[in-house]
Amino acid sequence: MNLIDLLLWGIFPYIVLTIFIGGHIYRYQRDQFGWSTKSSEFLDKKSIRIGSQLFHWGILIVFGGHFLGLIVPVELYNSLGISQHTYHTVALVFGIPAGIAAFVGLILLYYRRLTVKRVKATSSKGDWAVLFFLLIVIGSGLSATFANIDAHEFDYRTTIAPWLRGLFVFQVQPELMTGVPVWFKFHITAFYGIAVVWPFTRLVHVFSLPLRYMRRNYVVYRSRTRKA
C-alpha cells in the first residue's frame, strides 16, 4: 500500500464526506429559496419528457442496487443461501438495464441542454458540472459493470463493500481497495467529484422528498409566534 492508496481510500473519503454534509447544512441555512430542482420544464416541456423519465427511474434502481450490494453485508446473502452466482446474475439483470436507462436519459438531457436555446441560455455553471460528473460517474459505473460481467476473479461485496462500511464506523481499511479493478476505482473517485459539488447544485433536491407529508394530520393549525 502506497501513499496514493492511503490518500484515495483513507483520507479523501472523509474530506469528501465533510464537504458533502457540511455543504448541505450550509446551503440549507443560507439559501432556503435556492433549495430547488431549478426545473426547466416551463422553458421547454417536450424534449424533457423521455430523458427525465429514463434517467430518474434508472438512477433510482441503480441506487437500490448499490444499497443491496454495498451496504447489505455479503454474510446476509450467504446466510440466506444466495450464492455468489445467483446474486451476481440478479444484480446484472436489473442493474444493466437500469444503468443503460439512466445513461441514455442523461445523454438526452445533456443534448437538450445543449440544443434548446432557452434552456441553454438559462443554464448555470452548476448545471453543467452536474451533467458532467453524472456522465463520468454513470459512464464509469457502467464500464466497471461490463468489465466485470463474468465476475470470476472479483467480488466487490468482499472488497469495496466492507471498505465503504468501515468508513462509517471509522475503521479505515484502504488495503481492501488495493486489488480492486481500475474501473471501480475510477468510478469511486468520480463519485468523490460529484459529492463535492452536490450541495452547491440542484442535486440538493434529492433530499427534498416531502416524506413528512405522509404522516401529517389532515387539518393543521399554527400557533401565534411566541414573543421572546
Partner: protein, 1227 residues
C-alpha cells in the same frame, strides 16, 4: 433581543411531541411563520397617491397609484367623484384595463432610461466640436457637408443609439436650433405635441419653449382627422359636447360611427344605465361593433356612405315634421336658433338660378358699421326685411346688440321671422343644386319660392334658407321641380335613393327618422347622436357630419340636456383654458405665437403634395364651370397668400432678414413694415416658402416631438415621411413622374430627402418616433410628475402627482424643456447673441375682428390683381416680434408681466387680470435674480405652473369666471353673471383637486352650464341665455355662402361618395397567388389607445400578441387565407405585413387594421420592399380638401385646432394576399 433560530434548527422537531386535536384529525404545526407576512403586506403600501393617465383616450380617469418598497406596484380606480345628483347614476367606476396596466411601462424594457443619440451623429459632433471654435460652427461643419449629414440621416430607424450625457445633447440641440434661426429663420424649428388637455403642463412646457424661440407649434386635432370641420362650419365652435353622464338624460340615442364601449370604456356604463331607464339606442355601423350590442336597431351601412342615410333621414323629418305638419317646438327653435329664416340672394347660373350669399344690411341700403356682415330675415310683422340682433356685424361693432333676441337691430321692433316664402312668393324659381354620387356629378333642378328685391336698382331674387333646404332635400311642396313624389321614389334624397347606396332598408331609415323626431317632439329635444371616428376620417367627412348634425338641429335637440350631437374624437376639453393658453403660447412675454395647421405642414414637408393624382375638377360641383385650380397644393398657396391659413416656414427667406431689409428701407412702425412686406410680395421680390416647398431655404430643419408618436402612429403617409422628411430607407412604391403638376408651386425634379437636420423626441417609451429620432430624451411617466388633465367626458380637472421620483435619468417634460432652454440660453450667452426682431405673419383669426376681413365670401386674390395686398385684410397680418435667446430660460420659468398689463380673455371677450396676477405672485412666489424675469411669478416647478394655471382660468377661479361673464354681458347686453356668481369665492388649488375631484365653474369659455350641479350639455347657454353662436348669422348654420363652398357644392348638406382610389395606377408589383382589393380602414384598437398600451405585456396577452388585420371570412376564403396566417397588405403608398384575423363581424369589401399597432415584435420582411413590412400607416396618405382652407370669413376663419385641412386617410384601397414566405430578415 429576539433570538433567531436557524432554518435547520427549526426543521429538527422530530423529537418534539405533536399536539393533536379532534381525534387526530388536526395537529399543531410548528415552524417559521414569517412567510405569512407576504400576505399581510399585500395591501400595505408606502404611499397611495392620486394621478391619472395622460394618454389621448379622452378618459382622464382618477386613479390611485400604489407604491410599495419604492416601486409602483399597481393602480386602482378612485371612487370619490362628486355626485351627479339625485335620480342619476354616478361617474364611478371610471378606468379601463388599459389604464390599469400602465404601471407595467415604468419598469418595462421599452422604457427610455437615459438620453440617447445616434452614435454616428455623436462621433461627428464630438469631432466637429474639437475642430471648431464654437458650437455653431461645429454644427455648420456637419450639416453643410451633405456626406456627413447623410451619414447619420440615412441611419435613422436602424438602431445604433448610444447613451449620452444631458449636457452634451442639450448643447447639440441648442447649436442646431440657433444655427437654423440664424441661417434660415426661427420658423424652421417646429414643435409637435398633441391634445394638451391630456397633460396640459407637459404640453405647455414645449409649446412655451417653442413660442419663446419663435418656432411654430403644429396643430393635431385636424392632423389626426379628429376635428369635425362641420362644427366650426355650423356653430363657429371648435367642438363642444355633452359630458358622458348627460347620455342618461336622453331618451333616444343613436351611436353613429362611434364604438362607445370600446373607445369610451369608462363612460359606457351611462349608455347601459340609460337603456335600463328605457332610452332607445340605435347603432349605425358597417360592422357588428361592440356598440351594436347595445342597440335596439342596427343600421348596417356600407362604410363611408353614412351621409346618404343622414340625408334620407333629414328628408323624412323635413317632410313630415316641417312641411306637412309643422311642429310648433321645431318651428320656434328654427326661427330663433338657426339660419332657416335668413334670406339668401340667388344669381344666374347655368340656365337657372343658383343660391349665392346672404342678403346683408349693405344690400338693403342700411347705413351701418359692418353692414357687409349683417344678414337679414323677413319680418312677417312689418312685411319688410329686418336685420336681427346677434349677427357677426353686431358682434364687432360693440353696441350691445349681439344677442339672439328676435329684435331688429336698427328699429328695435320685434321680429316675427318668415321661415318660408311659400304662399307669399313673387315667383317659383328653378334653382340648380349640385349632386354627387359614386358614378355621377350632376345638377338637380329644384323649385324654390322666391321674393323679388331691388338691390342697387337691380331686380334680384331672394329665398329663405329654409326654402332652399327643403328644395335641397327634395321635398315635394307641390310647386314642381325635381322632387320626391314618395319615399320610394329614387330621387335624392329619399329613403329609396339611399338604399341602393348604403344597403340600409328604406323602411328602417324612415322608421328611425320618425322615431328620432317624434321623441324630440315629445321631450322637447332629448334626441342625441353620438358621432365618432367611424364617420369622421373620410375625405368628405365634413359633409357626412353636416348631414348628421342637421338632424339634431332640425329636431331642436341641440343645446338641450340629453339632446344634440356628442362627438368624442380625440378632442378633450382643456378646462382651465385661459391660464393654459397664456403659459403655452408665452403670451405673458410676447406675441403672437406661431400656430400652424399640422396637415398642411406635413403635406408639404413630407412631399405628399408631389403625388396628387385626382384632379380637383373631378370633385367640384356640376354647378360651377371649373375649379380655381386642379392641384390641391395650389389652394393651400392661395390660403397662405390671402391670410386664410397659417404658413410656417413663412417666407422664402429668414423673417429676421426681412425685418432688417424693411428697416433699411426706412420703415419704422409695424404698420409700415407690414406695408413693405405687402409691396415686396406683390412685386414678387418676396415669396411664400410654400410656393417652393422643396427649396432648401423653405423647409423645416428641427422638429421637436413630445407626448406623441408621430412616426408610425399618427404619421399618415408613413413611407413619405421616411423618404422626404427623414431621408432614410423607405418602402414607398409610388412615383411622382406623372402626377398632377401645380400652377402656384415651383416643381423641382430633384426632390430633397432628409429635410430634417434633427428629430428630437421626448418620450418614456422607445416607440416608433424614438426609433427614428436623432436625439431621444427620457421623459417621466404619468406617475412621476405634477400636471393637470381634463376631458369633455366629465367636468373635473384631475391632477398628476409623482408616486415616485423620475427613475434613471428621466425628467418630466417641464424639466426637459427647462434643460433645453438652459442649453439655448447658455450657448446664446457664449456667442453673445443680441436680441433679434422677426417679421411674423399670422392668419386672419376667428373670434377677432379679422374674421370680417373678406366680405360676402368672395375670393379676391391680390396676386391676380383682384385687390391690393393689405395686411390683416386681404393677406396675413404682419407683426414684429423680438426674441432674446439669452433670456429663454428666465422667461420660460417665470410668468411674464403681460398677464397683468394686457387685455386677457378668450373667444373674443377680454377683461383685466392685474389683481389675479398679483395674487399669483404672493401664492407661488416670485423670481429674485435680477434677470428680465425679476419680480415675476416663479414657475420653475411644474407644480407652481399648475397652481398658476388654476388661478388664472375662468373655469377654476370663480372671480375670473364672473369677470369673464361680465365681459360677455357688455358684449351681448344680456344678464349672465348669475351663471358663476354662486361660486365666485371658489379658487381651485392643486391640493384641493388632489384631495377630491371638483366640478369646474361655468364660464363663457364653453357653451354649457354646470350651475347648481347641472350636467354639462353644450350650447345650453346659447339656447337658454340667448348668447349668439359665433357664426355670421349668430345662429346655427345650415347654409354656408363662401365662394369655395359653392365651388365644391357644399353650401348645404349633401351626400358625397368616397374617393375613387385604385391601389396602383401602372407599374404594380407582379401578381402572386390570389389577391383581393379592399377598402383599408384604420379604426381604434380595443387593446390599446393608439400606440400606447399596445406593446404592454398585459394587453398583448389579450389578443394575438402582435399586429393584425381583420378580414371578412368570405373575403379571406377568396384568397385562401385562414385565420392567423401572415398577409401582405399594400398599395402604392407602401406595404404592411400582419397576421389575418378572419371574422364574420367585418363586412365584405373592408379590411380593418387597428391603428398604431406599434411594431416592436412580429415584423417579418416583405419581398415588395426588401424591408420589414411597414406600419398601419404605410398604405395610407393624406388628401387635403380645399374647403378646409377657407379663411378670413366669419366662422370660416382660422383658429388653431379649430379649422384647417384634416389628415383624413380612409378613402384608400389596398391589395391583400397571403405572404409567400415569412422571412424575419434576421441575418
Amino acid at each position: 433581543m429576539k433570538k433567531k433560530h436557524s432554518p435547520l434548527w427549526k426543521r429538527l422537531t422530530y423529537m418534539k411531541p405533536k399536539e393533536t386535536y379532534s381525534d387526530n384529525h388536526s395537529q399543531l404545526l410548528e415552524g417559521n411563520r414569517e412567510w405569512e407576512n407576504v400576505y399581510r403586506r399585500r395591501w400595505q403600501h408606502d404611499k397611495v397617491i392620486r394621478s391619472t393617465h395622460g394618454v389621448n383616450c379622452t378618459g382622464s380617469c382618477s386613479w390611485n397609484i400604489y407604491v410599495k418598497d419604492g416601486i409602483v406596484t399597481w393602480e386602482g380606480q378612485q371612487l370619490d367623484y362628486p355626485t351627479t345628483g339625485p335620480d342619476m347614476p354616478e361617474f364611478e367606476p371610471r378606468g379601463c384595463p388599459r389604464g390599469a396596466s400602465f404601471s407595467w411601462y415604468i419598469y418595462s424594457p421599452l422604457r427610455v432610461k437615459y438620453p440617447y443619440i445616434r452614435k454616428k451623429l455623436l462621433l461627428l459632433w464630438r469631432e466637429a466640436l474639437e475642430n471648431h471654435s464654437n458650437a455653431l460652427e461645429a454644427w455648420a461643419s456637419i450639416i453643410e457637408d451633405s456626406e456627413k449629414a447623410n451619414l447619420y440621416k440615412r441611419a435613422r430607424g436602424k438602431g445604433g443609439l448610444i447613451r449620452a450625457e444631458w449636457d452634451e445633447v442639450t448643447k447639440l440641440v441648442a447649436a442646431s436650433s440657433l444655427y437654423t434661426i440664424k441661417k434660415y429663420g426661427p420658423d424652421r424649428n417646429v414643435g409637435f405635441s398633441p391634445i394638451p388637455a391630456m397633460s396640459m403642463i407637459s404640453h405647455a412646457a414645449g409649446s412655451r419653449f417653442m413660442s419663446l424661440m419663435g418656432g411654430p407649434m403644429l396643430s393635431f386635432y385636424d392632423w389626426y382627422a379628429d376635428l369635425p370641420p362641420a362644427s366650426p362650419q355650423i356653430w363657429g365652435d371648435q367642438t363642444d359636447v355633452p359630458e358622458s353622464s348627460d347620455w342618461f338624460n336622453s331618451s333616444y340615442i343613436m351611436t353613429w360611427g362611434s364604438n362607445v364601449p370600446l373607445t369610451r370604456t369608462p363612460d359606457a356604463h351611462f349608455l347601459v344605465e340609460a337603456r335600463y331607464k328605457g332610452t332607445k339606442v340605435v347603432s349605425v355601423s358597417p360592422d357588428y361593433a361592440e356598440s351594436t350590442k347595445f342597440a335596439d336597431d342596427w343600421m348596417s351601412v356600407k362604410q363611408g356612405t353614412d351621409g346618404a342615410v343622414a340625408m334620407a333621414m333629414g328628408h323624412v323629418i323635413l317632410n313630415e315634421f316641417y312641411h306637412q305638419n309643422m311642429q310648433p317646438y321645431f318651428e320656434s327653435y328654427a326661427k330663433q336658433y338657426t339660419d332657416f329664416p335668413f334670406v339668401v340672394r340667388l344669381k344666374k347660373g347655368k340656365g337657372h338660378y343658383v343660391a349665392d350669399r346672404f342678403l346683408h344690411a349693405k344690400d338693403l341700403g342700411i347705413e351701418s358699421e359692418n353692414s357687409e356682415w349683417k344678414p337679414s330675415m323677413f319680418n312677417k310683422a312689418t312685411n319688410t326685411f329686418a336685420i336681427p340682433q346677434g349677427t357677426m356685424g353686431s358682434r364687432w361693432d360693440d353696441k350691445g346688440k349681439w344677442n339672439l333676441h328676435l329684435v331688429d337691430e336698427f328699429t328695435e321692433e320685434a321680429i316675427d321671422p318668415t321661415i318660408s316664402f311659400l304662399g307669399q312668393e313673387d315667383e317659383i324659381a328653378t334653382v340648380n343644386m349640385p349632386y354627387f354620387d359614386a358614378e355621377t356629378r350632376n345638377i338637380l333642378h329644384r323649385a324654390v319660392p322666391v321674393k323679388e328685391v331691388a338691390i342697387d336698382g337691380e331686380k334680384t331674387y331672394v329665398a329663405t334658407v329654409y326654402d332652399l333646404m327643403l328644395a335641397n332635400y327634395g321635398i315635394d311642396r307641390g310647386i314642381g321641380g325635381e322632387s320626391a313624389k314618395s319615399y320610394d321614389d329614387d330621387t335624392p334624397f329619399t329613403p329609396a335613393w339611399q338604399e341602393k347606396i348604403t344597403g340600409v332598408k328604406r323602411e328602417l331609415v324612415t322608421k328611425i327618422a320618425r322615431e328620432f323626431a317624434q321623441n324630440a317632439v315629445d321631450t322637447n329635444g332629448r334626441s342625441m347622436i353620438i358621432v365618432g371616428a367611424g364617420i369622421n376620417h373620410w375625405y368628405n367627412s365634413d359633409t357626412i357630419y353636416r348631414a348628421v348634425v342637421n338632424l339634431v338641429i332640425m329636431v331642436g335637440a341641440q343645446g338641450v340636456n340629453g339632446g344634440g350631437w356628442a362627438h368624442y374624437v380625440g378632442q378633450e376639453k382643456l378646462r382651465p383654458t385661459e391660464g393654459w393658453t397664456n403659459v403655452a403660447t408665452a403670451k405673458d412675454w410676447h406675441g403672437p405665437a406661431k400656430l400652424m395647421n399640422g396637415t398642411s405642414f406635413f403635406y408639404f414637408a413630407t412631399g405628399q403634395w408631389r403625388y396628387e393624382e385626382i384632379p380637383v375638377s373631378s370633385l367640384t360641383a356640376a354647378t360651377v364651370d371649373k375649379p380655381r385650380y386642379e392641384h390641391y397644393g395650389d389652394y393651400n398657396v392661395l390660403a397662405a397668400r390671402l391670410g386664410w391659413l397659417p404658413a410656417y416656414p413663412t417666407f422664402d427667406r429668414n423673417g429676421i432678414d426681412v425685418y432688417k431689409e424693411a428697416i433699411a428701407n426706412g420703415c419704422e412702425t409695424t404698420e409700415e413694415i407690414g406695408n413693405y412686406v405687402a409691396k415686396q410680395l406683390k412685386e414678387r421680390k418676396l415669396k411664400f416658402a410654400i410656393e417652393d416647398p422643396d427649396a432648401p431655404e423653405s423647409f423645416p430643419r428641427n422638429l421637436f416631438v413630445w407626448r406623441a408618436n408621430l412616426i408610425s402612429s399618427s404619421g399618415k403617409g408613413h413611407e413619405y415621411f421616411l423618404k422626404h422628411l427623414l431621408g432614410t430607407t423607405h418602402g414607398l412604391l409610388n412615383t411622382d413622374e406623372d402626377s398632377l403638376r401645380p400652377e402656384e408651386i415651383t416643381w423641382r425634379d430633384e426632390t430633397p430627402e432628409g429635410k430634417l437636420d434633427l428629430l428630437i423626441n421626448l418620450d418614456f417609451r422607445m416607440a416608433g418616433t424614438a426609433l427614428y429620432s436623432d436625439v431621444i430624451l427620457p421623459a417621466a411617466t404619468w406617475y412621476e410628475k405634477h400636471d393637470l388633465s381634463s376631458t369633455d367626458m366629465h367636468p373635473f380637472v384631475h391632477p398628476f402627482n409623482p408616486a415616485i421620483a423620475s427613475p434613471w435619468e428621466s425628467k418630466s417634460d417641464w424639466d426637459i424643456f427647462k434643460e433645453l432652454a438652459k442649453g439655448i440660453s447658455n450657448l446664446a450667452k457664449e456667442l453673445k447673441m443680441e436680441p433679434v426682431k422677426e417679421v411674423v405673419a399670422t392668419p386672419l383669426l376667428h373670434d377677432t375682428p379679422q374674421e370680417m376681413a373678406q366680405p360676402f365670401g368672395e375670393i379676391k386674390d391680390w396676386s391676380k390683381g383682384e385687390c391690393e395686398p393689405i395686411p390683416g385684410r386681404t393677406m396675413p397680418q404682419i407683426h414684429v416680434v423680438e426674441y432674446d435667446y439669452k433670456e429663454i430660460y428666465s422667461k420660460l420659468t417665470a410668468l411674464g408681466p403681460n398677464i397683468g398689463s394686457k387685455p386677457y380673455g378668450t373667444k373674443g371677450i377680454n377683461w383685466e387680470m392685474k389683481e389675479e396676477y398679483e395674487k399669483v405672485k404672493h401664492t407661488i412666489g416670485t423670481v429674485q435674480n435680477e434677470s428680465v424675469a425679476d419680480g415675476c411669478p416663479d414657475i420653475t416647478s411644474a407644480r407652481d405652473a399648475c397652481e398658476a394655471v388654476l388661478m388664472l382660468s375662468s373655469t377654476t377661479n370663480g372671480k375670473v369666471a364672473v369677470k369673464a361673464w361680465k365681459a360677455l354681458e357688455e358684449k351681448t347686453n344680456l344678464k349672465l353673471t348669475d351663471l358663476a356668481e354662486e361660486r365666485e369665492e371658489e379658487c381651485f388649488t392643486f391640493d384641493q383637486i388632489t384631495a377630491q375631484p371638483k366640478t369646474v365653474i361655468t364660464s363663457p369659455a364653453f357653451s354649457g352650464s354646470e350651475k347648481g350641479g347641472r350636467r354639462y350639455s353644450p350650447f345650453t347657454t346659447n339656447i337658454e341665455r340667448m348668447i349668439p353662436f359665433r357664426t355670421i348669422t349668430g345662429r346655427q348654420s345650415y347654409f354656408l355662402d363662401h365662394e369655395m363652398m359653392h365651388e365644391f357644392g357644399e353650401s348645404m348638406a349633401t351626400f358625397k361618395p368616397i374617393l375613387d382610389h385604385t391601389p396602383f395606377k401602372a407599374d404594380r408589383p407582379k401578381v402572386e397567388g390570389k389577391e383581393i382589393v379592399l377598402n383599408y380602414l384604420t379604426p381604434h384598437n380595443k387593446w390599446s389607445i393608439h400606440s400606447m398600451y399596445f406593446d404592454s405585456q398585459p394587453m398583448l396577452t389579450l389578443f394575438r400578441g402582435g399586429p393584425t388585420i381583420w378580414l371578412n371570412k368570405d373575403d379571406a376564403a377568396e384568397i385562401d387565407v385562414e385565420d392567423n396566417e401572415w398577409i401582405e397588405c399594400f398599395n402604392r403608398n407602401g406595404v404592411v405585413v400582419a397576421r389575418a384575423v378572419v371574422s364574420h363581424r367585418i363586412p365584405r369589401s373592408v379590411a380593418f387594421m387597428h391603428h398604431a399597432q406599434d411594431r416592436h415584435i412580429h415584423v417579418p420582411g416583405t419581398k415588395l420592399t426588401q424591408n420589414r413590412g411597414g406600419t398601419h400607416n404605410s398604405p395610407t396618405r393624406i388628401h387635403v380638401k380645399p374647403t378646409h382652407m377657407i379663411g378670413g370669413y366669419a366662422q370660416l376663419s382660422y383658429g388653431f385646432n379649430y379649422y384647417g385641412t384634416t389628415g383624413n386617410q380612409r378613402d384608400l384601397n389596398v391589395i391583400i394576399r397571403k405572404l409567400g414566405e415569412v422571412d424575419w430578415l434576421e441575418n
